[in-house]
């Protein structure tokens, strides 16, 4: 407010104040604006922490631990049923990871030479040549930056390998190094995820307390990683394997996620469900809490965007539901259009998740200064 001093300035201030009140009350009558702006970001962050983030990480860690038990069992007794159990539990673990990979900040963020959790444990495609070299040399030190030779998908490569279970069992029996490498991959995975889970027990409090919208606030971390995660689904799980980048001349089926197990379709679907749940603030147990959707309902222009976004989510779900029930790499070649349709719908979703959402809520997306006033 102005500090009125001269009579003239006083007059101006009073007049402007009166005009302001008149206009704002008009606004209230038209749109019930008074209800619009009361939103508690702290409550939203609490919902994300308690009902989405922590359950997702805990669930992933539990499933990883189960996977570990099955691996030990398989090493002691390398039989086909024991391998099938490892495969099954791997699938369960990687599916649960789809619900946690959107929260790649805080304890999961890059620290020193260590990359973010997502990069450390879920890089694909696997560099099988390099992995083969490490395996041959029985090198399980991971003293390198080749994140495409460890993590979930290195384990997948070792226990599926695109061949029949009995063949995989035989390979394990004839190459003992493979057990060593598998265990090393598992230990690395388990350690990384449990570090993040432990990190959250102390980070949670500051996550909820840091309730601004500037860069470095929890809402901005949450939003920016959500967006990055969405882009990675669109670009890395669809765009590149489909050969949609400029300069690509053909599809790259071997670049799909989970190439060796062929579970790419299921993982992409689960990833999409998780992204929609983050937007809605829907917990892992299915309970719909306060999320970006509820935030939008309370801001200028938000309710309209919610309607548009919901419709686009439905359209994308439909495209996903039409994906054929076969290996993702095969689907890309045989049913290109069906897979491409999903990419198209994801593309259409982009603006709703990206500029529209951040603009309406007023979240900072860069560190650089804006124009001052």
């Amino acid at each position: 407010m102005l500090i009125p001093i001269s009579t003239m300035q006083k007059k101006i201030a009073i007049v402007s104040f009166v005009i302001a009140i008149v206009f704002s009350s008009c606004g209230e009558n038209e749109k019930k604006d008074s209800d619009l702006v009361k939103f508690d970001r702290g409550e939203m962050l609490l919902n994300y922490a308690n009902n989405l983030i922590l359950p997702a990480y805990n669930n992933t860690l539990e499933n990883i631990n189960d996977l570990g038990t099955s691996i030990t069992k398989f090493e002691l007794n390398p039989t086909e049923p024991n391998l099938l159990e490892v495969q099954l539990l791997w699938k369960k673990a990687i599916l649960s990871w789809q619900h946690a990979n959107g929260f790649n900040f805080g304890p999961a963020s890059e620290q020193g030479v260590q990359k973010s959790l997502q990069e450390e444990i879920a890089t694909f495609p696997v560099n099988t040549l390099l992995l083969g070299n490490f395996l041959l040399a029985n090198d399980t030190s991971f003293n390198n930056f080749n994140r495409d030779t460890r993590g979930f998908f290195a384990i997948e490569y070792l226990v599926f390998d695109s061949v029949s279970p009995s063949q995989v069992v035989n390979i394990f029996k004839t190459t003992p190094n493979r057990f060593n490498y598998l265990k090393a991959c598992f230990n690395h995975l388990q350690k990384r995820v449990s570090t993040v889970v432990n990190g959250w027990s102390t980070y949670k409090e500051s996550f909820i307390a840091n309730n601004g919208t500037d860069i470095g606030s929890s809402t901005s971390y949450l939003y920016n990683e959500f967006l990055k995660n969405f882009e990675s689904l669109k670009n890395y799980k669809f765009g590149i394997p489909l050969g949609l980048r400029p300069g690509q001349t053909a599809t790259l089926p071997q670049n799909v996620e989970a190439y060796y197990s062929g579970y790419g379709t299921a993982l992409a679907k689960e990833h999409w469900i998780s992204l929609a749940a983050i937007w809605e603030g829907k917990g892992l147990n299915g309970m719909d809490g306060i999320g970006f959707k509820e935030y939008l309902e309370k801001v200028e222009g938000g309710p309209n965007l919610v309607v548009l976004t919901k419709q686009q989510i439905i359209n994308t779900e439909t495209a996903f539901s039409l994906l054929p029930n076969k290996k993702f790499s095969d689907a890309i070649t045989a049913d290109f259009n069906l897979v491409n349709n999903v990419h198209t719908e994801l593309q259409k979703t982009t603006r709703f998740y990206k500029s529209d959402l951040s603009s309406l809520i007023g979240i900072a997306v860069t560190y650089s200064s804006g124009d001052g006033d």
Binding site: M1, L2, I3, I5, S6, Q9, I12, A13, S16, A20, I21, F23, S24, G27, E28, D33, S34, V37, K38, F39, R41, G212, T213, D214, I215, G239, L244, R245, P246, G247, Q248, T249, V299, E300, G301, G302, L305, L308, Q347, T350, R351, K354, S355, D356, S358, S359, L360, I361, G362, I363, A364, V365, T366, Y367, S368, S369, G370, D371, G372, D373
Partner: protein
């Protein structure tokens, strides 16, 4: 008439306000440059970026290797100190102006009105003898000392400051700002976690009060600064206004620049007192303190004739008055097309964001590929590019060059650009089928921008 004009510009006035202005400007730019270095922005802005968006007519300005960019910033630090202490003043001011302006010209996505303001002030400082009192230069060469200076040396800065506020105020007189309280209705609730004022920011009424008060403040503050009776209050209002916006918005050193610069409006005695206080902290006593007995106005000493200066001032003032108004010559909604938007003191005026998806066609295979912008642009660059038509063209040209260099025959680049302005549903900025390679940027109307549909 002419003599009156000359009298107005060239009458002798005490040098103190100019000296204080010099000191505060040097201090502000020193802090600002140091901050820039400490935040690691030299790398972020000039070294790590794969693409630089250019200013029209300055396409030849490119970034230099990291060590050189660092050296340039260190030169700027030293030059700021040179201005602050009045040491090798002309060279310092000129160096600062050249280095600072060069850095600003590298990438237009970092354009800020207050950077433009700093460039203008640095240029003007090269022309005035702000080092003729209480400075290292005078300590070294006592005969340089003078207590008076031509009035224009102060007027030109006051004029520039009034221009900044006044145009910022005029720009706020638009339907969205005054009647819908937008974008403040978006920005204020986003700050509701602030202590003391935060709780108030949730209410629509606050957005209206801030919108109207901001407009009235910007338009009138120049007048109140010129008026002796209201000056002190106006300056207090400036402090409150800038501190408040500085807390709420991510606007860097801008509040500091404006609070410090506007001190020039105070009268001679105030500035004399400021220098007296400064002397307590930092004394410069020439060994033989001799004021030149007959202080001639500075311009004589530098061989500049009064008429040359008068002509320069007329050109400068006309340009500053007219250039921000060039938007009137363009079609369409200025906020939407951004034609004539920059260099017009339009600050924190709209909430705008876009999603731009680019498609590149290779004639050999006739395949159309979709670009992942994150491969080439940092989030800031992408954000700026995605809503500004001229930058969209530049990016299309960059993509053509990039893919041609790696062996493709690029015949078409098109973009689907959805932009939201002040919380309105996003809509297409340009025709998505347009081959952007067939367009060139110019001062002419960009008829290829689609018109903005309200609702």
């Amino acid at each position: 008439m002419k003599t009156k004009f000359n009298q107005f510009l060239f009458s002798n006035q005490a040098i103190y306000p100019l000296v204080v202005f010099r000191i505060l400007f040097g201090l502000t730019t020193f802090i600002s440059t140091l901050r820039f270095l400490l935040l690691g922005w030299v790398n972020l802005h000039f070294v790590n970026s794969k693409v630089q968006f250019k200013y029209y007519g300055f396409e030849w300005v490119t970034t230099l290797p990291e060590p050189v960019m660092l050296i340039i910033h260190i030169i700027m630090l030293l030059a700021s100190l040179g201005i602050l202490f009045g040491a090798f003043y002309r060279i310092s001011a000129a160096l600062f102006f050249v280095c600072f302006t060069y850095c600003e010209l590298i990438d237009i996505t970092y354009y800020l009105n207050h950077y433009y303001f700093v460039s203008l002030v640095a240029f003007l400082l090269c022309l005035v003898p702000a080092n003729r009192f209480y400075s290292i230069d005078v300590w070294l060469k006592p005969q340089l000392s003078q207590k008076t200076v031509s009035a224009w040396c102060m007027y030109i800065f006051k004029f520039q400051l009034i221009i900044v506020y006044f145009f910022a105020g005029i720009a706020k007189i638009n339907y969205d700002w005054l009647i819908n309280a937008l974008p403040l209705k978006i920005w204020l609730p986003a700050n509701d976690n602030l202590s003391v004022i935060g709780a108030w920011l949730k209410y629509d009424i606050s957005a209206y009060v801030f919108s109207w008060a901001g407009m009235i403040f910007d338009i009138s503050v120049g007048y109140f600064l010129l008026n002796k009776k209201t000056r002190l209050w106006a300056w207090f209002a400036i402090i409150i206004f800038h501190v408040l916006t500085g807390i709420m918005f991510q606007i860097g050193v801008f509040p500091l620049v404006m609070i410090a610069s506007t001190i020039i409006f105070f009268d001679t005695t105030t500035h004399q007192k400021i220098i007296k206080i400064l002397r307590l902290v930092f004394t410069i006593k020439p060994k033989s303190f001799v004021y030149s007995s007959n202080p001639k106005p500075a311009f004589f000493k530098h061989g500049l004739s009064t008429s040359l200066i008068a002509v320069f001032i007329v050109i400068w003032v006309s340009f500053q008055l007219l250039f921000p108004l060039r938007f009137l010559l363009y079609n369409g909604n200025m906020f939407w097309t951004e034609q004539g938007y920059r260099f017009g003191w339009r600050v924190m005026l709209m909430e705008k964001a876009g999603t731009a998806t680019f498609y590149v066609t290779d004639s050999a295979t006739n395949r159309e590929g979709v670009v992942d912008n994150a491969v080439f642009l940092n989030p800031h660059q992408e954000k700026q590019m995605a809503m500004q038509p001229d930058l969209i063209l530049q990016y299309a040209q960059f993509l053509k060059k990039h893919y041609t260099n790696i062996g493709f025959n690029v015949t078409k680049v098109r973009a689907e650009v959805f932009v939201t302005l002040n919380a309105k549903p996003s809509q297409l900025l340009i025709n998505s089928n347009l081959n952007l390679l067939e367009l060139t940027d110019s001062w002419k109307n960009k008829n290829w921008i689609l018109s903005f549909e309200k609702n």
